[in-house]
Structures are given as structure tokens and as C-alpha cells.
């Protein structure tokens, strides 16, 4: 029981020490670190957006879509991100964050446009495939009908030939004719 006030005093002194030194230091680090962390996160997000847009662009290219305009736009986004990285390296974190956000927005726009064009190309390809299949089906059906009709007519002709009565001139008729 006698030690209690002593303990309280020690604990209080420790708390006072921590509160007097700790927060100042941590806030100072936080003040610097937050900007740097934010800028780094913005750069990472912009890079992710560029990679993602590139993925959509590859899909669109594979589907046969025209992508040359996306290539130009995404290269612009890459260029902006390069400037953002340079600003970050120069400890200009505010500028780095702004540039990285610009790069991210530009890349996201390319990604959305590439997705739309991919969809458009796929729909066109599906329509073309449908038309091709339809033409093939029509050609096959017409061929089938023609073959069936031709065979039917051939069969009828054969039947009518079988039913025909053959009249050959007999010997008497021949003699009379000769006379």
C-alpha cells in the first residue's frame, strides 16, 4: 500500500515524458510520411490503371479492333506517370500525386473506351458469324431442295419411260411397206 503513490508518480512521469516527446516526433514523421505515402499510392494506382487498360487493349487488338488511338492515349498516360515518378524522386509529393492522378484518369478512360470497342467488335463479329452461318444454311437447304427435286423428276421420267408402250413394226407390215 505504501508503494502505491510512488508507482503512480513513476507512471505519471513516464506518461508525461511520452506525451511531451512522442506526439511531436510521430506527428513530424506523419506529416512527411503521409505526403510520400499518398504520392506513392497514387503512382501505384496509376500504374495499375495503365496495366489494366493495356489488358483491355490487348483483348480489343486480338478481337481485330482498331486500337491505334488507344496506343497514343495510353502512351500519353505513361509519359505523365514518368513525370509523376520524377516529381516523387525530387520529393515533390504534391505534384507527384496530382500527376499520378492525371495519369490514372487518362488510363482509366482508355480502359473504358477499349472495353466499349471490344464489345462493339465482338457484336460485329457475332453478327458476321450469324450472317455467314445463315448463308451457309440457305445454300445447303437450296442445294438439298434442288437435288431432291432433280431426283424426283428423274424418277418420274424413268417411271414414264417404263410405262411407255413400245410398238415395233412386225414382219407383215414391213413386207407391205416394201411392196
Amino acid at each position: 500500500m505504501t508503494h502505491k503513490p510512488v508507482h503512480l508518480i513513476i507512471v505519471s512521469l513516464i506518461l508525461v515524458f511520452i506525451l511531451s516527446i512522442g506526439p511531436t516526433k510521430s506527428l513530424a514523421i506523419a506529416g512527411f510520411g503521409t505526403d510520400a505515402t499518398e504520392a506513392q499510392q497514387a503512382i501505384n494506382k496509376a500504374q495499375d490503371a495503365i496495366n489494366s487498360a493495356f489488358g483491355y487493349m490487348v483483348e480489343a487488338d486480338l478481337a481485330g479492333a482498331e486500337i491505334s488511338d488507344f496506343v497514343v492515349s495510353l502512351n500519353d498516360a505513361i509519359e505523365i506517370l514518368t513525370h509523376a515518378q520524377a516529381a516523387f524522386n525530387a520529393s515533390n509529393f504534391t505534384s507527384a500525386t496530382e500527376l499520378a492522378d492525371d495519369a490514372k484518369n487518362a488510363a482509366e478512360l482508355v480502359g473504358q473506351q477499349a472495353q466499349s470497342r471490344l464489345l462493339e467488335t465482338r457484336i460485329n463479329a457475332a453478327i458476321q458469324a450469324l450472317i455467314t452461318i445463315s448463308i451457309f444454311v440457305v445454300v445447303v437447304a437450296v442445294t438439298y431442295l434442288l437435288i431432291t427435286r432433280w431426283r424426283e423428276q428423274k424418277r418420274k421420267r424413268e417411271q414414264s419411260l417404263m410405262q411407255m408402250e413400245i410398238h415395233l413394226p412386225n414382219q407383215e407390215d414391213k413386207g407391205e411397206t416394201d411392196e
Binding site: N51, F54, G55, M57, V58, D61, L62, I67, S68, V71, L74, N75, I78, T82, F136, V140, T143, Y144, I147, T148, R151
Partner: protein, 161 residues
Amino acid sequence: MSKHTQNILTILMLGVVIASSTLIVSLWLFPQQEQYPVLAILGENQQAGDYPTNVTQYDNITLYTEVRNLMGIVQYFYVRVKLATNTTMANSTHPSSATTLYEREHILGHGQTWTFPVQLNMTTPGINLRLTFELWRYDLFTEDKIYTGVWVHLPLNVTAS
């Protein structure tokens, strides 16, 4: 076998023959071409030749790099420049283990060419150095940069100032 079945079989056979012959003719007319990227180093005048071979430490050198995409599809390329030695040289399977001095990235559609200047300050002296240019690309499956196995280098001596 009824005549009806015979007709159907004939038409199916005809379809198969037409489809296969179309495929063979298209493969013959449009053969699958080899797909590869091209990496080249150009001198200060943007032509092959006049490459620096002996420079003094802290000298600035300017070279041009040319990348051509003949991979058949859009590619996200990276060019990494390294100063390698005989022991850290790149080969077709492994990139150089030397530190990257310079890196640039660009997206190229099939058939497109990208030419850009590379300005370097030669801070490290040495003889029989190899100024190595490596071509990397972004791989969608691994979601990371991968070495294409394409590289070029310039032999270089950097004399201490």
C-alpha cells in the same frame, strides 16, 4: 440407307470438303509468320555506326534506341540500360545482373517503331565494359515485366578522369 439420308450425307461431305479446302488454301496463302521484337542501338546521328568506344569518366554520351514490334499484337515494352562487365553480361535467357542505369517504357502496336534518345553520364570507370540495352515487356499472365531475351550491347572503355 434411304435416299433422304444419302442426300444429307452427300451435302455434309460436300460441306466438309469445302471447309477443309478453304482452310488449306488460306493457310497456304497466309502462312503463320514468325513473331519477334527488334531492338537496335543507333549513334548520335540516329544511324547505325559512330558509336562511342572510349570515353572519359563523367562524359555524357547520347545514343538512340530503336524498338520495333513484330509480335503480331500490341506490346508494352521496357528498355533497360545497364553497364555490364564480362561477368554480368546478358544472354538470350537471362538479363544482365548489373544495375539499371536508365529505363523507359512505351506501348507499340504491331508493326510500329519507337525511337528515343538515351543520354548517359558515365560515372563508373573501367575497361571492356558492355553498355547493354535489354528489351523487356509487360506480361498479362504474370502481371509483371518479363525479359524478352532480346538485347544488344556496345563495348566501351571509360577512362578515369
